[in-house]
């Protein structure tokens, strides 16, 4: 009985443990974010020979160049420049985009929902198909289904996503005409439809505009399936490996000794245990899809952050590139940290330690 007695002392010890783990978490979050800003500062201000030209392009008039030079604080020492850069970045000020003449943050705010919608749908597709496939492969290890899952995974790890996207367009858009052309909506709807959240599928459904919903679906389904395939490759492989590990545990033998059906042992016990690390995998795959959006959005003319970054790259619009990098980097870091937290919440073993 000793393990559950004496709660008073353990209670305060637990509070200290929780505080210190929160403290550790904050240190990691802050240093990682500072690291991201330091690297982007280095990229934007230190590597280019003349950062002003990198921001404005080489056709800017001399007086604008001079003014920008002062605005960017390039006459100041580097450390002071970094301080100003930090201050601006933390308040969401990434400067103005040369290409769109908007503040970079405004552009990003407009593009972020498109990217999020795509990545979310992709992860959804990847998890819903990938987890059961991985479980099946583990349970029927060495069977045909295991081989198929393995090959699906290997190809997913090896194929260039933009190339598969192009081939997908050739087949499903040009030849079969199952999906709509690369864009978010047909031109007709671009002007009649007013999004609220920026997630078109959600907005259209909420407003009851089912023709818009269907059109948005025809546009998103190919790029989302493509991203879904990549997330599936990763998720099914990891699920298989976690499940194989769980299925060798003693509690599985005990569950069999209790007379449980294999189905119950697999789905209610082994998968429930594997679910704890799976959360991290799915979160990482989501973060990976955000990153993969750069290439996918370019192929599918999807007006998200990825396309924004590549368009800006081609116009040497450094403010926009760095702003986009910082935003995607921040989301990436946040997802990483959140998945870590979620792991702790989901696993009862870590709760009381």
């Amino acid at each position: 009985m000793s393990a559950i007695e004496n709660d008073g002392g353990r209670g305060s010890a637990r509070a200290v443990a929780i505080l210190s783990s929160i403290g550790r978490f904050l240190v990691i979050a802050v240093t990682t974010y500072l690291g991201l800003l330091a690297v982007t500062f280095f990229i934007g201000r230190v590597i280019p020979i003349d950062p002003v030209l990198a921001v404005l392009g080489d056709r800017a008039p001399a007086n604008v160049v001079e003014r920008t030079r002062r605005e960017m604080g390039l006459d100041l020492p580097l450390i002071e420049q970094f301080y100003i850069y930090l201050k601006h970045a933390l308040s969401g000020d990434f400067g103005t985009s040369v290409l769109t003449t908007n503040p970079v943050m405004t552009d990003i705010r407009r593009a972020l929902p498109a990217t999020t919608e795509l990545a979310t749908l992709g992860t959804l597709i990847g998890s819903v198909i990938g987890v059961p496939l991985g479980v099946l492969a583990a349970v029927k290890r060495g069977s045909l289904i295991d081989q198929i899952v393995r090959i699906i995974g290997l190809i997913g790890y090896s194929v260039p996503i933009f190339w598969l996207g192009l081939l997908g367009l050739v087949l499903f858009y040009a030849k079969l005409q199952w999906v709509a052309f690369p864009a978010r909506l047909d031109v007709v709807y671009e002007y009649t439809f007013t999004p609220v959240t920026g997630f078109y599928l959600l907005d259209a459904a909420m407003q009851g505009q089912w023709d818009v919903f269907w059109d948005a679906f025809r546009h998103i389904i190919l790029p989302a399936s493509l991203l879904g395939y990549f997330s599936l490759a990763y998720i099914s492989r990891m699920t298989r490996s976690f499940m194989l590990n769980e299925l060798t545990q003693e509690y599985v033998v005990a569950a069999r000794a209790k007379g449980l059906s294999e189905r119950r042992i697999i789905w209610a016990h082994a998968l429930r245990n594997a679910a704890v690390p799976m959360v991290t995998v799915i979160a990482l795959s989501y973060a990976g899809l955000l990153e993969g959006s750069v290439l996918t959005e370019t192929v599918f003319s999807w007006p998200g952050i990825g396309l924004y970054i590549t368009n800006s790259l081609q116009n040497a619009d450094m403010n926009a590139v760095l702003g986009g990098t910082i935003v995607i980097g921040s989301v990436f870091i946040a997802i990483n940290l959140l998945s870590d937290l979620l792991y702790r919440v989901l696993d009862p073993r870590t709760k009381s330690q």
Binding site: I161, V170, V294
Partner: protein, 306 residues
């Protein structure tokens, strides 16, 4: 050689009581090799990589046409045929020849990234692991920070600042891919740091520099090789992605990602222009993935299912 001779050589290799160090080492290599070849897919991977090396070396002999000069007048955007196996591109160049030459650029990128990133990771990891304390804490924090970044996006930003080009793409990929190597090297270092033979070397008065360089680094090499092989496919895909976005190799270099980018404009009508180089990327990355998987399984039987 007679059957018995083969049999006895096998027994000599597999002997449980090797008479010499060489015999033990050869025996272990033999077992590893057997485990590796027992995995048929890994063997296919090895064959693909050997084929890649051969093609890269012999591209000049194998390619029927020039990779950079095409027949603009008569041979634009031809469909695959006996004359042009994979068709021709918009400048009338033979795609098959360009893909053969492109293998050189793939190897160029992969090898350069590996010889830049792996030593950085090895150095950071072994120093952090051996020094411990604050050095370790700071180096590992930096490593973790880099690990938490989106690699492709960061590589993009680097190339954007450095300017497009295959050398800069290599540099950007190398800068973003060393952290996992540092983690591995550190983990290996920690396992040997307190072992008796390292203590013995310390007692003999070897400098920390010498211990890390001569006694710790060599131990980290084999797990590092596996990891680098597994990463090769990712490096190829990132390089191709940069090429596709116009940031990697510049035309007219026959780099596969760049070839896909230039084929993109007519992909709906002449799909083979973008199709063939993508397929080449797929095959080569698949080869590296299969090889890496097989190497890992052969060197570490425990992780066979990971």
């Amino acid at each position: 050689m007679s059957v018995e001779a083969v049999q006895s050589r096998r027994e000599w290799l597999l002997s449980e009581r090797p008479a010499s160090r060489t015999q033990a080492r050869l025996g272990r290599a033999y077992v590893t090799w057997r485990r590796f070849t027992a995995n048929r897919l890994a063997f296919v991977g090895l064959l693909i990589i050997i084929a890649l090396l051969l093609v890269a070396a012999l591209a000049g002999v194998l390619a029927p046409y020039s990779p950079t000069i095409g027949d603009l007048k008569n041979a634009r955007l031809l469909a695959p045929s006996a004359e042009h196996w994979f068709g021709t591109d918009d400048l009338g160049r033979d795609i098959y020849s360009r893909i053969l030459y492109g293998s050189r650029w793939t190897l160029y990128v992969v090898i350069l990234v590996a010889i830049i990133a792996a030593p950085i990771g090895l150095l950071v990891g072994t120093v952090a692991g051996y020094a411990g304390g604050w050095t370790d804490a700071i180096l590992m924090r930096i490593t973790d920070i880099f690990l938490a970044f989106p690699k492709l996006i960061l590589a993009l930003a680097f190339v954007a600042a450095l300017g497009p080009g295959i050398e800069n793409a290599v540099l950007a990929i190398a800068i973003t891919s060393w952290p996992p190597y540092a983690r591995i090297a550190r983990a290996e270092t920690l396992t040997v740091r307190n072992s008796d033979y390292i203590k013995a070397v310390q007692l003999m008065g070897a400098s920390p520099f010498r211990i890390v360089l001569r006694h710790i680094m060599p131990l980290c090499i084999s797990s590092l090789i596996v990891r680098v092989t597994l990463d090769m496919a990712g490096i190829i895909l990132t390089a191709a992605g940069l090429g596709f976005l116009g940031l990697g190799a510049q035309p007219p270099l026959p780099e596969w990602g760049t070839m896909i980018a230039s084929g993109r404009r007519f992909v709906l009508d002449q799909w083979w222009v973008a199709g063939a180089p993508g397929f080449a990327i797929l095959i080569v990355s698949l080869g590296f993935n299969l090889l890496g998987d097989g190497l890992r399984d052969a060197l570490d039987p425990r992780s066979g299912d990971q």
